[in-house]
Amino acid sequence: MKILVDNKLREVELLSKEDNNLQVAANGKTYDIDVVMSENGFCSIICDGRSYNAESVKHANGNYTITTNFRNFDIELFNTHRNIRKSSDSDNVLQSNMTSPMPGKIIKVCVELGSQVKKGDALFVVEAMKMQNTYMATRDGEIAEILVKEGDAVAKDQALLSFK
């Protein structure tokens, strides 16, 4: 199965299962493992005598965030029904919408309809958790639509503006 780990493409496959012993191939290596998972996402993996822990969160879209030894990994799995998204989307394709990366409150809208902006220009100042954050343009372009106004509360992933 194809898998994206922090946007890097990997392969993972179950090779065999005998009682509690699993053989899994991941990233070209073969692992003999014994796995226990709990309801709330705690996962204990014993592999070649070593004891590993992972904490797993499954998101609504089927992706995972796995935390192990302080480190977070964002993971996307591709089964037969789901195609691999172009992992370089964000680099190559100009995104026409800008969404809010976190919930917050719009403190300031720094651009107007029809403004020409350059990558890195300030578009919004958003307050969350008593801190102000400036959202910058991720591309050059002309502002086609501004979907929020000052004082609005915005949700995570809410569209804020669109480019022409």
Partner: protein, 505 residues
């Protein structure tokens, strides 16, 4: 004697105060905003009332609503915690008018230390060292004289200044004239006000503070020091006690001078005097916090004193329970502030639903936190999720312990700064105990670097996700479920009728 206390705060500090009240047999009243109905402090209190919307001005900062709630529930006293109304003289005065005890110093004390200029004047009067300089309009004719009097390096600052504008560091007398005029013109251009003053520039400053307790009978004692130099944008991140930097003599002198300062203004309650300490251990008054501080637990751990209980004791009009001689430091404590923020992404706030918490336990660990599995960290308040405190006999052991408990602390669903804290604890300057308020800046690169073993961990992460996927998708009842969002293995396991919440694959 206080029988019931309303806590005019939220989150971890509200909970922390309620815990001491519960031990003392004092009933507690929680106030909460709309979005805080699910906060642990509401459930922990004996009584609770919603006082308004998420906007602080409509709830936690709304004096009259809080006074009304206190009267409605017949609270004898109000504990303000930190932040919000804790240093609001008007609130302290309103409490007094209504016959409700305000657990903190009186309004006059708050005022005298609340304004930085009057605080500075009060401290000078009390003989407390302040950063040498003058707050008056600096004239060209006084330049050299004042500079020599203060001693180089000095800093020329615009009274109206801020954000580094209208500010010039002077290390050599030759630079003085030019610095003066360029600061003035920049100040004029930036703020329309060209008044500048001169102040000593403190090199390698340490932020070290002294905890105080004063009663209403004029007794004041100090509870030694806390080192709080690990700061990012003036926000403390890691605190410890005792300071690894200052020597015993300086520690005692600072304690004595802090007591003198508090006595000079007739301070009653718990309070803190913050000092800037330079690399030669000269200390200068910075400000006074007329309240409990976020970092108060490190003092509690080292002294064994419950500061909230002492605050209530003092509010009851009693004399201090300890004399200065009875207060002895033992061992070493460190506190880390656990925050909902993405340290790898410019510390962006990370509110949201907490999926699962695994808290550290065992010897020498204390957690003050209000979060729980399923709790939604609201976007409206500050990102602190709680505090992790360790105690051990020596600083070296406390560091070892902090490493261990940071490893044990697992919070999923939102991003936290736990990894970042671990890196701070492992940074050489921190380990050596020789760090200043420039620590975060100086070590910023190291603090963003990833650890080793990434490849191995990555494989483990892939396997964990893959196994979870297999468990879900080999499920015989899969067809029944329309909504693929709810395919955590456990729901399936339960459907299986296995009655297990742990699955061995």
């Amino acid at each position: 004697m206080i029988q019931k206390i309303l806590i005019a705060n939220r989150g971890e500090i509200a909970l922390r105060i309620m815990r001491s009240c519960k031990e003392m047999g004092i009933r507690t009243v929680a106030v909460y905003s709309d979005v805080d109905r699910t906060s642990r402090h509401v459930a922990y209190a004996d009584e609770a009332i919603c006082i308004g919307s998420a906007l602080a001005s409509e709830s936690y900062l709304n004096i009259e609503k809080i006074i009304n709630a206190s009267k409605q529930f017949n609270a004898d006293a109000i504990h303000p915690g930190y932040g919000f109304l804790s240093e609001n003289a008007h609130f302290a005065r309103r409490c007094k008018e209504e016959g409700i005890l305000f657990i903190g110093p009186d309004a006059e004390c708050i005022e005298s230390m609340g304004d930085k200029i009057s605080a500075r004047q009060n401290m000078i009067k009390a003989g407390v060292p302040v950063v040498p300089g003058t707050a008056e309009d600096l004239q060209p004719k006084d330049l050299i004289r004042l500079c020599r009097k203060i001693g180089l390096p000095v800093i020329i600052k615009a009274t109206a200044g801020g954000g580094g504008k209208g500010m010039r560091l002077v290390r050599d007398e030759k630079e003085l004239q030019e610095a003066y005029y360029s600061a003035k013109s920049e100040a004029k251009a930036s703020f329309g006000n060209d008044i500048v003053y001169i102040e000593k520039y403190i090199e390698s400053p340490h932020h070290i503070e002294i905890q105080l307790l004063g009663d209403t009978h004029g007794n004041v004692i100090h509870l030694f020091d806390r080192e709080c130099s690990v700061q990012r944008r003036h926000q403390k991140i890691v605190e410890e006690s005792p300071s690894p930097f200052i020597d015993e003599k300086t520690r005692l002198k600072m304690g004595q001078i802090a007591v003198k300062a508090a006595k000079a203004i007739g301070y009653a309650g718990a309070g803190t005097i913050e000092f800037l300490v330079d690399d030669k251990m000269n200390y200068y008054f910075l400000e006074m916090n007329a309240r409990l501080q976020v970092e108060h637990p490190v003092t509690e751990e080292v002294l064994g004193v419950d500061l909230v209980k002492e605050q209530i004791h003092i509010a009851n009009g009693k004399k201090l329970r300890f004399t200065q001689r009875e207060i002895l430091q033992r061992g070493h404590a460190i506190e880390c502030r656990i925050c909902a923020e993405d340290a790898q992404n410019n510390f962006t706030p990370s509110p949201g639903i907490i999926c699962h918490i695994q808290s550290p336990q065992g010897i020498g660990v204390r957690i003050d936190s209000h979060i729980y599995d399923g709790y939604e960290v609201p976007v409206h308040y500050d990102p602190m999720l709680g505090k992790l405190i360790v105690w051990a006999t020596t600083r070296e052991y406390a560091l070892e312990r902090m490493r261990r408990v940071l490893y044990e602390y697992k919070i999923t669903g939102i991003k936290t700064n736990i990894d970042y804290l671990r890196k701070i604890i492992d940074t050489r300057d921190f380990v050596k105990g020789n760090y200043t308020t420039h620590f975060i800046e100086e070590n910023s690169k190291k603090l963003q670097q990833d650890g080793k073993q990434i490849e191995e961990l990555e494989d483990i992460a892939v396997i964990a996700a893959y196994i979870d996927y297999l468990v879900n998708n080999n499920n015989p009842i899969e067809g029944e479920h329309q909504n693929q969002a709810d395919n955590r293995p456990i729901s399936r396991w339960r459907s299986f009728g296995k009655q297990k919440s742990i699955l061995r694959f």
